[in-house]
């Protein structure tokens, strides 16, 4: 069986590998770099830079006088990490005998795609063309108006920056630049940061960003931006009225849109442009599948991986379905965010006897060692005790999101969790504390009233 994959990002390269493992002859077509947005310009660069500024900022507590950060060294490390991962992907594809075509793909008559002058026939086509940044209304990219990729490529941290969009990418960039001393203004149209997540999370992140010196404006929009060459001047509409400000750059981190490109005519798309798929990631044209950002939100690399494996397996006739109970959301702000499964409201609306148990990080050894701000909250069903969601803010909580997903996917109860020994001192212990609170026997927090 022959399979063509368009796009070499997290969705595309993983689909290609899985299809090859199942015996298909696979061609992958990528017009840019293997690894896609995530490896080259988004997830990996941002997290590498964030790790560098994390240690820089925290080390300052223990130094007599802090030298300026060497941004060249920081970016140098970023390129080293990205290169190594990208080369790894190239090698994996070649070891799995995936043919890679470096060109732009478009549909060809019959069951085929065209790319770089070749016509590639295939019994199945997997679209993994990802997403592209959406510009702000009336504010095209260019000059001092940057997308997230360009912001992560700056050769020096800006003196000042206006970041538009308080979602994951926006708060990560605000964290990054605030830690190296940039004056950061962060604007979000909704009434809190990270509006897609549990409300307590956004409020905690906002408080901590403010403590770091970030000016945060929620329920606010950008009225106009005037690019004056050496800087921009902007006018904001905020809850407290209009304000004007100057900044070296504006970063539009307010959204992305799907990128079906020339394949938009081949398959049905929704009103926003996502390829419409069924539970097996199959598009309206039965031989076509889609995975990753182009197949709809949420936009996460691990969601792309999971859908890509399903698409490849379904294309090869397996009875595989994409039906996760929990797609973990992680934000590498300071403090970090991890959010898995249902919020309490969602659980209530789904008909559960929704309950929650929340413990602050400051009751735990590792919580205090790493900084102290934040909490871990379990959402569970009061009747069965089953864990439906986990919502956490705090340094390192990104690493407990996998366990959180496991709890939800395994149908674990708060009682089950309360009985599993977790090592001391770690952030993961807070999951156990929250579970003990839920069963009414908390150890490191005063018992709730009867």
């Amino acid at each position: 069986m022959k399979v063509a994959v368009v796009g070499g990002g997290p969705a595309g390269y993983v689909a290609a590998i899985r299809a090859a493992q199942l015996g298909a002859k696979v061609t992958l077509i990528e017009e840019g770099e293997l690894g896609g947005e995530c490896t080259n310009w988004a997830c990996i660069p941002s997290k590498t830079l964030l790790r560098a500024v994390e240690v820089y900022k925290e080390a300052a507590e223990y130094l007599q006088g802090l030298p300026k950060i060497d941004w060249k060294a920081v970016q140098g490390r970023r390129w080293a990490v990205v290169k190594r991962l990208r080369e790894g992907i190239e090698k994996l594809l070649s070891m799995n005998e995936v043919e890679v075509v470096k060109a732009r793909a478009q549909p060809a008559p019959g069951r085929a795609v065209k790319a770089g002058g070749k016509v590639i026939e295939a019994e199945a086509l997997i679209l993994a063309t990802g997403s592209v940044p959406a510009p702000l209304p009336n504010l095209p990219f260019g000059g001092k108006v940057l997308d997230t990729k360009s912001a992560l490529l700056l050769e020096e941290p800006p003196n000042s920056v206006l970041i538009v969009g308080g979602g994951a990418a926006g708060v990560e960039l605000a964290t990054l630049f605030a830690k190296v001393g940039s004056k950061v203004v962060l604007v979000e149209v909704m009434d809190r940061l990270l509006p897609a997540l549990d409300a307590d999370i956004g409020m905690t992140v906002e408080r901590e960003l403010r403590a770091m010196g970030v000016e945060v404006y929620t329920s606010s929009t950008v009225l106009s931006v005037d690019d004056r060459g050496r800087a921009v001047s902007a006018r904001l509409k905020t809850a407290k009225g209009e304000i004007a400000l100057e900044a070296d750059y504006v970063v539009a981190a307010a959204g992305r849109r799907p990128n079906p490109g020339p394949f938009a005519d081949l398959v049905k798309t929704d009103e926003r442009g996502h390829v419409v798929v069924d539970g097996q990631m199959r598009a309206s044209a039965g031989w076509v599948y889609a995975a990753g950002d182009v197949a709809g939100p949420p936009y996460f690399a691990h969601k792309a991986y999971a859908q890509a494996k399903i698409a490849a397996e379904a294309a090869l006739g397996r009875k595989a379905y994409y039906e996760p109970l929990a797609v973990p959301a992680v934000v590498f702000s300071d403090p970090e965010v991890a959010s898995v499964g249902m919020t309490e409201d969602e659980a209530r609306r789904a008909g559960y006897d929704a309950k929650s148990a929340r413990v602050p990080l400051s009751i735990s050894g590792m919580g205090l060692i790493t900084g102290g701000a934040g909490f871990v909250k379990l959402v569970y069903d009061g009747n069965s005790g089953r864990i439906l969601g986990v919502h956490a803010v705090g340094r390192r909580v990104s690493e407990i999101a996998g366990e959180a997903a496991l709890l939800v996917e395994f149908g674990a109860t708060v009682e089950d969790l309360a009985l599993v020994m977790h090592p001391h001192p770690t952030i993961s212990e807070l999951l156990v504390e929250a579970a003990e609170l839920a069963v009414g026997k908390p150890t490191h927090i005063a018992k709730r009233g009867p």
Partner: protein
């Protein structure tokens, strides 16, 4: 009979059990779970499938 509708999210089953149920067309709401807290494991689904196969093979019970 293949279970085409998504497995009910209210049935607690381990991920591999859910996947196998899809492959074998087993309705998870009819499977007894033996995992922690009654969670359905992959073994439970396998057992249910064998049971189903036995029932289908067995001749219909003679009328009384």
């Amino acid at each position: 009979p293949a279970a085409e509708a998504p497995t009910s999210q209210k049935v607690a089953a381990m991920p591999a059990a859910r996947r196998l149920a899809r492959e074998l067309g087993i309705d998870l709401s009819k499977v007894k779970g033996t995992g922690p807290g009654g969670v359905i494991t992959v073994e439970d689904v396998r057992r249910a499938a064998e049971e189903l196969a036995r029932q289908e093979k067995a001749p219909p019970a003679p009328p009384p």
